[in-house]
């Protein structure tokens, strides 16, 4: 059993009591909600005649269903409009702060909350969204919940939940030029598998992790869930504190000094005990691309699509399904695979630095003929900063569409969708069958810079070749 880790310390601080059923009643310090997984929870609250217990600890935004060509109200899709108005009404009647359409803080929930300073070390963060693991980048315990649990948090600010085991993933070395946080997490998931993390919280640590910026750390923790770990985190350090300093909801003045002192005390002890530890070499990682239908089916840009017959037995069937679905031949190189659509955005890679890195690749080039390429900033603040620094113009001049913030084609609950058998190069997090809005559409996951390189060449490209130019 783990002890002395950040996970243990934060867990103990938030433990209300042990429940008769064997799980723990855990206090939730920050509850984030959005339009897709909250309406039924509010209905349940109303039906049971309950109230929202700590309305100030719940914060809302709208992201999944937002059209990105224009945010003008009412939305053309009446169902989308209904979901938004339902959330507006629920927030208003319960006194919940809503960062809605027209505010300068709307955005993908896992992008806007950190940039407002809402997410801080030592918190427990829950949201009806599996990518809530993102917030672990700050040294918080953050995890996705279902709608029944959203109801429970609204009603009690607590959850009935079982403590996870802790696995430390230690990454040595330095990431090479042209290798990004996305490549690192795709590499980790490839090696530990999509269910390797079930039952675990992942602590990401080591020299390669410490060197990452906050935005890169968010990319890593965001995809912990794709490796089966409901929760991923990184110990808070100077990088964390520098990022938080001066943010709207960050502690101020005297409280700031006290906060830093407390935050530092939360980091895993040198003598902490883990349930499992693994070590990886970050220096040897190359740009990584998924070829299949799970985020674990990734290979480096230099590798060939695996021959299912040569894989371990338990991976064979899904590899056969994946080759068939993706219409990719075993032992073909992934580099050079033609693509139709390029998507830069999402809670994984829709932050300012993601757009900035991709813009460096795009600058001076144009999108290949026949390719539809678009950039969806993760939030209004990301969009603003990109505009201030002229990054939107770089993309637009190259032939990209520049859109309004939202989840967009990561899961295609808005009008941004693949069509038919189209194949995308996407900076998002899931390559599941049908994920991007066409029942038989196909997705190749990669870093935003790799998506930019694919847009320019019309095919999967080693971004390092463009960096050398």
């Amino acid at each position: 059993m783990s002890s002395g880790t950040l996970y243990d310390k934060v867990w103990d601080l938030h433990r209300v009591r042990e429940l008769p059923g064997g799980s723990t009643q855990l206090f939730i310090g920050l509850h984030l909600i959005h339009e897709v997984t909250s309406p039924q929870a509010f209905s349940a609250i109303h039906e049971k005649n309950l109230r929202v217990k700590f309305p100030k600890l719940t914060v809302a935004t709208v992201d999944h269903i937002v059209p990105t060509s224009s945010q003008k109200r009412p939305f053309p899709d009446p169902l989308a409009e209904e979901m938004l108005t339902t959330l507006e009404k629920n927030c208003e009647s319960h006194g919940i702060t809503f960062h809605g359409i027209g505010s300068n803080s709307q955005g993908v929930v896992h992008v806007m909350a950190p940039e407002l300073g809402l997410t801080q070390p030592g918190m427990t963060v829950a949201c009806g969204d599996s990518h809530t693991s993102t917030h672990g980048a700050f040294g918080a315990i953050a995890f996705g919940i279902g709608t029944s649990q959203v109801r429970d948090v609204l009603a009690s600010q607590t959850l009935a939940i079982k403590k996870l085991k802790v696995r430390r993933i230690w990454v040595d070395g330095v990431l090479q030029k042209g290798v990004y946080a996305k490549d690192l997490i795709l590499h980790i998931i490839r090696h530990l598998g999509v269910k390797g993390g079930v039952g675990f919280a992942y602590e990401f640590a080591g020299p390669a992790i410490e060197k990452l910026s906050m935005e890169e750390r968010m990319t890593i923790c965001n995809m912990a869930i794709e490796g089966g770990a409901r929760c991923g985190y990184i110990n808070p350090d100077e990088t964390t504190f520098t990022y938080l300093k001066g943010k709207e909801y960050s502690p101020k003045d005297q409280a700031w000094d006290k906060a830093i002192h407390w935050w530092k005390s939360l980091a895993s002890d040198l003598k902490a005990k883990y349930d499992d530890e693994i070590q990886l070499d970050g220096s040897s990682i190359e740009p990584t691309v998924t070829w299949g239908i799970t985020p674990g089916q990734g290979i480096s840009i230099k590798e060939k699509i695996p021959n299912p017959e040569l894989l371990p037995q338990n991976e064979q069937q899904i590899a056969i399904d994946a080759c068939k679905y993706m219409n990719l031949e075993p032992e073909q190189p992934i580099e050079g695979t033609s693509i139709d659509v390029c998507f830069i955005g999402s809670c994984t890679n829709g932050r300012f630095s993601d757009l900035q890195e991709a813009s460096k690749i795009v600058k001076g080039h144009t999108v290949a003929t026949g390719i539809r390429a678009f950039v969806v900033p993760g939030s209004q603040k990301v969009a603003q900063e990109a505009k201030q620094k002229g990054i939107d113009k770089i993309f637009i001049q190259a032939g990209f569409e520049w859109r309004e913030p939202g989840c967009s084609m990561c899961l295609a609950m808005n009008p941004d969708k693949l069509e038919g058998r189209q194949i995308s190069a996407s900076s998002s997090n899931r390559n599941f069958k049908g994920r991007q809005g066409s029942a038989n559409g196909r997705t190749l996951l990669m870093s935003p810079a790799m998506v930019a390189a694919a847009a320019i060449n019309g095919k999967v490209t080693d971004v390092r070749k463009l960096l050398q130019e």
């Binding site: 059923g21 209905s43 309950l50 169902l79 809530t132 279902g146 029944s148 429970d152 599941f432 049908g434």
Partner: protein, 203 residues
């Protein structure tokens, strides 16, 4: 006919069964994102596995006449991975599923099912394969799940199943619908709140 959803103690489930074969079946496949555009779960039953069913043109297990009215689903490894959408277990429940048995389940999906009173039990790869073969051989047979014995059986065979203790107790005592339990001791919630530095200006 008004549908009866799970309530109270869940100690036994009886019914016909069918198989959804494959590892890593994600919640996007169980309920594609476009069906999440709703403010109520009520219509989801018809949309379960919508894209897979469309592709198989009536030959998907959820469309086959022989499976109509079945309430037990036998799956493989890491079932329900991906998105946290409770719409997935809601869709299965509203179609009629009351029990899922497989090699393993993704964590959030498992918890979402439990919160609806749908037990998810596991067994070894080999046992699941045998169970799936038996179910496929005779879709008409009635299976009997007994929580206290952690078993499912037909007239001849009996399979031992696994379930973590917490979930077992919640189902056994009818405490899987957690809300009221969580509100039992409000003072302790307040005390936890009062002790958290970040909610008290780091005093």
């Amino acid at each position: 006919m008004k549908e009866e959803f799970p309530k109270g103690e869940i100690k036994s489930i009886k019914g016909r069964s069918f198989v959804i074969k494959g590892d890593d079946i994600d919640t996007d496949r169980i309920i594609p994102a476009r069906f999440l555009k709703c403010v109520s779960f009520s219509a989801l039953g018809e949309q379960v596995f919508a894209d897979d069913r469309k592709e198989l043109q009536g030959n998907h297990p959820f469309d086959l006449a022989k499976n109509k009215g079945a309430n037990i689903l036998i799956v493989n490894d890491n079932f329900g991975c991906g998105s946290s959408r409770e719409h997935a277990p809601q869709a299965l429940m509203r179609w009629g599923i009351r029990l899922i048995i497989g090699e393993s389940f993704a964590e959030i999906f498992f918890g979402n099912c439990l919160a609806l009173g749908i037990p998810c039990l596991t067994s070894s790869k080999k046992q699941i394969a045998t169970l799936q073969d038996l179910v496929n051989e005779n879709p008409k047979q009635i299976w009997n799940f007994k929580l206290d014995e952690l078993s499912i059986s037909n007239q001849r065979e009996i399979f031992r199943l696994n379930l973590e203790e917490g979930a077992y107790k919640m189902l056994y005592h009818g405490k899987w619908d957690a809300t009221s339990q969580l509100l039992d001791e409000e003072e302790r919630i307040k005390k936890t709140f009062d002790n958290l530095p970040y909610l008290n200006n780091f005093k």
